[in-house]
Symmetry: C2
Subunit: 402 residues, 2 copies
């Protein structure tokens, strides 16, 4: 059995990774906006990407390269998504990879590229190139947080998380950072997550693990229901722990740790959702299939009415039930139950009396839980993360004028 | 060719219909909350209903009765949705139909029932019964607007519309009213639309027409993406014009008129959306299939980011394109075009320069149009209606405390 414990840091926690971030002048604010993470040794790498048919060129390039056993680095810019930029945009992604490869003395195909920010504008390639040149010599183990800062757009806090996983053969470290808080001012932006580990794992196994975990975590994360053109989750594994992850039980333990990382990143993103005053955790059980649980959880997470009710501290189970109703999830009319902050509020489609004062106090916390048992007895659990819908969400997304 | 012209009124415009509304004490405000419309002669009747798996008992009862050739009346209460009320709720729907039938000297199965308002509370049946008794003697041709008023919840304006359709064999009248402005304070509410006509049309033909039209109109209407437990659109046709609607061309003309009525009702509901400052009309063309057009139109209408941009007067075509991208609609990357208020803003996924002052002025009107050509050459058109997402939407939906 592997033991999983939280540790410090993010993308540079695992052995052999160095990172940094610089202000390249892409963001109008002048904040850090170009970040690089690099491994000493070649990594197996895999990723999961936006399902949006309108995709940035960097997404397509990474999809073509992954899974791989020969990736060294990721370069990220914030402030410009390089999406809806046509042939020039594609060329700019190649140039970004080339300049990064030159600066790190590796090959362009060993570099992954990610962008977040405004769409429909060309990347200022002179600034990107200069940024890469100044960032490359600064890469360090201490630079993980600067990397995490430089990829932020409207995020208000850095989102890092790392775990240590003790196997019988030794310990691996896995950590990462994420950004995203809605699809963001000024035009739209993106959920990005980067995870690094020193586990020794084969590309196909890593690919399966990341896709399965993303399906249970990031794909259930909703701030406002909009999927960006640039979303991606990428994991690099450089094997430098010397601990192989190959047997079924090792792979399962690794996937558990990866789930914890991704689930934590989703929580952090939800808590920092645009305008959010609270995080809303939704857990659905009792569905005939896990797909039923997932549909119900995502439908609740996506409901503006549930999200405004949570903002108002209103124990409005009718809206929760309604979102289950139109989700397509099957449920038992006799056995369905809704719990809010641990208190039962509805059973068999009918109201259940609850202590109003206790509920009021629980709903004013900054983490609120919604639990639905679909009543059909399945053992699976589906978790979705979202936040409340507030005046500030509208303000952030309405007050920009192109 | 039939000629279609607008005329006055709503549910009592067609020959032989009488209506009224009274304050029965169901709404806490004391406003009108019980409405009845009745035809002199038996009507063919058909309807379209919420797809939500959590449905009010009145919805199930109407679904079981329709299509029919023997309906006389509709009774509607506002202020209480009688949803999530179990066996008692079912019994209360039957009692409502029975009391209405007694008051109108018809049979219970000749009465349709609709409710809108709070869920999870039992109907105050003494007040409902008393309301029916006081409403029935007041029914009149002049009472159409009182009917339209009594079915309102958070609506701020009455929503009536009527047309006269000139066939070679004579003229028919068709009119109706609707309510709905989001899923509404205090718990949730409902989109209801009632249409009456004096056309002579068979139940199956009426059923096909209403379902096809609802699919092109109400099913593309989005205020906040939430489908209520009580939504319904019902049409009664009493044949009293003496004009038969039987041939293919007559049926097509009738369906056109019905489309105009429903499309107009959708526009009125969108313009009166909770907290809305403007109506947003979305037109999608050029899809390979009409389903592609519909998906893209609904996806744009459902995007919080598009809706907040419209509130802010931001010509943010990136958000529009993004919503098309995740809709599942197929499009041509080379030929797709986005127009905002008639001005082209994006072609082939790339920005198009537009006059900023003119755009700014157009976006501050109270009706804004978004047009997307998917670029695959189809001839079909799909229209969706929505409104902007504003501070007041959040306020209306957050500030209620159960």
């Amino acid at each position: 059995m592997a033991t999983i414990t939280q540790t410090h840091g993010g993308v540079t926690t695992a052995k052999g990774f160095a990172a940094s971030g610089v202000a390249a002048g892409i963001k109008k604010s002048g904040n850090e906006d170009l970040a690089v993470v690099r491994s000493e040794k070649p990594c197996t790498a895999a990723g999961a990407f936006t399902q949006n048919a309108v995709r940035a060129a960097c997404v397509d390039r990474n999809r073509a390269l992954l899974p791989s056993n020969d990736i060294y680095a990721i370069v990220v810019n914030a402030g410009n998504a390089n999406a809806c930029t046509g042939t020039q945009g594609k060329q700019d992604v190649e140039t970004t990879a080339l300049r990064t490869a030159e600066a790190l003395s590796i090959r362009p195909k060993q570099v992954l590229v990610a962008s977040t920010g405004v769409i429909g504008e060309f990347l200022p390639m002179d600034r990107v190139t200069q940024g890469i040149k100044s960032c490359a010599p600064q890469l360090s183990v201490e630079g993980g947080t600067r990397f995490a800062e430089a990829i932020m757009t409207t995020d208000t806090v850095v989102k890092e998380y790392a775990l240590s996983v003790g196997f019988t053969k030794g310990t691996i470290l896995i950590g990462g950072c994420a950004k995203g808080s809605g699809m963001i001012h000024p035009n739209m932006a993106t959920m990005l997550a980067f995870i690094t580990t020193d586990a020794a794992i084969a590309p196909q196994a890593l690919d399966k693990a990341i896709k399965r975990v993303v399906d249970k975590t990031f794909n259930n994360l909703t701030i406002d229901g909009d999927t960006s053109t640039n979303d991606m989750v990428v994991i690099l594994a450089n094997g430098m722990s010397g601990v192989p992850v190959t047997s079924a039980s090792e792979l399962a333990a690794f996937e558990n740790a990866l789930y914890e990382i991704c689930n934590n990143q989703c929580s952090q993103i939800a808590a920092d959702g645009e305008g959010a005053t609270k995080r809303v955790d939704i857990t659905v059980t009792g569905g005939e299939t896990s797909e039923d649980n997932r549909r119900a959880a995502k439908s609740i997470a996506g409901s503006n009415l549930v999200k405004t009710a949570m903002f108002g501290g209103d124990p409005n189970w009718g809206r929760i039930l309604c979102a289950v109703g139109y989700s397509g999830a099957r449920f038992s009319e006799e056995n369905i139950e809704v719990r809010l902050c641990g208190l039962s509020v509805c059973r068999a489609l009918r109201p259940v009396a609850f202590p109003a004062d206790e509920m009021h106090s629980k709903l004013s916390q900054n983490i609120v839980s919604i639990e639905v048992d679909l009543g059909l007895g399945g053992n699976d659990v589906s978790v979705a993360h979202t936040c409340d819908l507030t005046y500030d969400y509208v303000k952030i997304n309405a007050e920009y004028h192109t």
